[in-house]
């Protein structure tokens, strides 16, 4: 199981029946593959759709039906389409139960940077700032380090996406929850030691006496 699959499987365990969920571009979209059979989760695509799955059968694609990454999708029975103002009313208005987003950096206060690296790459924020402002829970799905450098840092060196503290950070090494006291280590991935996690993290972690192993599927 590679790093991305570990992350997607663990994030999927946060899904609950009846939720409206928005998955960000990239790694977060993998979470959709691990929705348990029988669970009803409505997926929102910020470009104007609730209720989709990807991809359509070959030859059945519709060019007017894409997700926020530009990938061709299928609408599901019961789907609803709407314009961008309505889509972001859903997002900002607290109607989205859970947003799963990637990140470039997270700091000790649980703040997120995800939309630019000054002087190098400026993709833009797209819908990320609205999602962080409005979703009930914001879960960060990201690899623990980038090019050997920790992505979890004491304070952000990149421009923040919002001032809000994210709800949970899931990486291929650990599950970490930002709290009033700081970043609390909640789980470690199978075969990963607490020392490994601390060594790959650029911010102080609150480590419990016993760190349980990360579950990757439901009991």
């Amino acid at each position: 199981m590679d790093a991305k699959e570990i992350i997607a499987r663990r994030v999927a365990l946060e899904l609950r029946d009846g939720m409206l969920v928005n998955l960000g571009i990239g790694l977060p979209t993998l979470v959709a593959r691990f929705i348990p059979p029988g669970m009803s989760v409505a997926m929102q695509s910020e470009n104007g759709l609730i209720g989709f799955s990807a991809p359509p059968p070959e030859g059945m694609e519709n060019r007017d039906l894409i997700d926020a990454s530009g990938g061709l999708i299928m609408s599901l029975p019961g789907a609803a389409s709407f314009d961008s103002a309505t889509s972001f009313a859903l997002i900002r208005g607290g109607h989205v139960d859970m947003a799963v987003l990637g990140a470039l950096q997270i700091d000790a206060a649980g703040r997120l940077a995800s939309w630019m690296i000054p002087g190098k790459f400026t993709p833009g924020m797209g819908g990320a700032m609205d999602l962080v402002a409005g979703a009930k829970r914001v879960i960060i799905a990201m690899q623990h380090v980038a090019k050997g450098e920790p992505k979890i840092v004491e304070s952000l060196t990149l421009p923040p996406t919002a001032t809000r503290r994210v709800s949970l950070i899931v990486t291929e090494l650990a599950v970490i929850e930002p709290t009033d006291e700081g970043l609390a280590l909640r789980e470690r991935a199978p075969g990963v030691s607490v020392a490994d996690i601390v060594a790959s993290t650029g911010a102080r972690l609150i480590v419990p006496e016993v760190t349980p192993e990360m579950p990757l599927c439901r009991d």
């Binding site: 007017d64 833009g124 924020m125």
Partner: protein, 218 residues
């Protein structure tokens, strides 16, 4: 009021160099491709484009960027178009990045006669620079001003002769909200149908907002 169809080429002639132009679409889906091609063919210059993104170099708004028609973009995302990135770094194009929900609401505010909107999005980030922050019941909000344009170039699914519009699936995106926010609204529909074919409840943009309809391709 009944409108007569114009060609994409005639529509492109209406849009002068230097105009502020809203263009519907999300990564090219729901963008008026024939109008974009006609602007490229006319050799339009120094346009300001307002829209969600700059798509890809060969798709949608990206074709205007590639052809050198654009001096400035006001969009939420340019990550899918390396040409926009390169021109921005070289100082050849101005890029204002606007959170997507804020972009939709600023356009909506302009089109509905509001003096602006209050949003929590962007508080404490670079988006808040030079903007007023106000507190309401203990929460902070940015004042975001209305965003208008000279032209809105829209893609619809159906238009009737009055300009009543329908949209399909994710091709609606910014089109319905932009229909309110420009002096001249030009729509490129997939289909044109006689008045009465679109049931009133199915109309998503009332025809009174539409200035010109681009006729079917010949």
């Amino acid at each position: 009021m009944r409108k007569s169809a114009i060609t994409a080429e005639a529509a492109a002639q209406l849009v002068p160099d230097g105009a502020r132009v809203m263009i519907g679409g999300f990564l090219g889906v729901g963008s008026p491709d024939r109008l974009i091609d006609a602007l490229v063919a006319r050799g339009a210059r120094a346009l300001t484009i307002i829209g969600n993104d700059t798509a890809y170099p060969t798709v949608g708004v990206g074709r205007l960027i590639e052809a050198g028609c654009v001096a400035r973009v006001e969009v939420s995302h340019i990550g899918t178009n390396p040409t926009t990135q390169r021109l921005m770094s070289a100082g050849a194009i101005d890029v204002e990045l606007i959170p997507q929900g804020t972009l939709a609401e600023r356009i909506r505010a302009a089109g509905s006669g509001l003096g602006g909107v209050l949003t929590p999005t962007g508080v404490g980030t670079v988006v808040a620079q030079d903007k007023q922050v106000i507190e309401i019941d203990g929460a902070s909000f940015l004042i975001e001003k209305p965003l208008r344009a000279d032209f809105a170039l829209l893609r619809a699914h159906e238009a009737d002769y009055y300009g009543n519009l329908t949209y399909r699936l994710t091709a609606a995106n910014f089109n319905p909200v932009m229909a309110f926010a420009a002096d001249c609204v030009i729509v490129e529909p997939d289909e044109i149908v006689p008045v009465g074919v679109i049931p009133p409840d199915a109309v998503r943009t009332p025809g009174v907002l539409v200035t010109h309809i681009v006729g079917r391709a010949r």
